[in-house]
Point group: C2
Amino acid sequence: MENSEAEIQKAISEISYGLYIVSSMSGKKMNGQLVNTVFQAASCPPLVAASINKSNLTHAYIEESGIFSISVLAQDTPMPFIGLFGFRTGREIDKFKDISFKLLAGCPAVTENALAVLAVKTVSTLDMGTHTLFLGEVLAAETLKEGPALTYEYYKAVKHGKTHKNATTFYAGADRPA
Amino acid sequence: MENSEAEIQKAISEISYGLYIVSSMSGKKMNGQLVNTVFQAASCPPLVAASINKSNLTHAYIEESGIFSISVLAQDTPMPFIGLFGFRTGREIDKFKDISFKLLAGCPAVTENALAVLAVKTVSTLDMGTHTLFLGEVLAAETLKEGPALTYEYYKAVKHGKTHKNATTFYAGADRPA
């Protein structure tokens, strides 16, 4: 049995994910970022969770405001749109300047290329080293259109997408950011 | 904007998942169960997490032993095999009696129908209401075969699979267990 770092990374890479934009705000400032780890944490009442890198601006905004939104991306989301939310920082640009969004329960939620949007109020957090898991109650939700959701597998295999260095799934040995 | 329970559940159902068997042990007794919420929590060192219903036997075994394994299921996993781990309880039957498994870092890991197996040592937990999130370090991992992973979407759409009442994603209004 081999247990090298590469062998562990290869096995971990078999885990399936969707792709989402998680957004939050600080006063009138808004920001959002690409996230692959979003999941329903409990069924009744419905709790959802999202994992965010501690060094990202969206992390600071969620800590400050206690709310965030989740936009479930459609499979046909264009790569430049993914690049805007996945590879740019809100510290340098206003990501919401030219895209469609709405306020859902008071929280900005990206509606462009989204199948559904959810607004979440944080109730608990878990320190996961490089990332924080934000667990929260769903305040409001809307389904915007029908169609297949974008998966991380599809993004990598069909769209030849890269992985940002701040992602949980980043592995320097296999996949360097553009 | 409608915010009925059904509207929230519809939006939540757009979240993507894989399907896994999470196994653990109590002395010489072994048990495992179907899980949809497994994710990489941090990149360096690699941490992974799994969400388990508090009322399940596997939950008690992980709490006792502090270790668990994850088997990433292949897309062609037969439905009776999924039924064994997803809809039967280890309190009544020995799920490991007739299936292939191995001991990985001392923890039983189902190898039948698995693309990869990981052994994990719990380092932290998060109470999520009906479920506990177990976060841990990867002790060992092996890739067993190549091929597409089974996703929850494929299980529901192509295999017409049901959702157990103890799953995070169970919603009585839409999907009753067999």
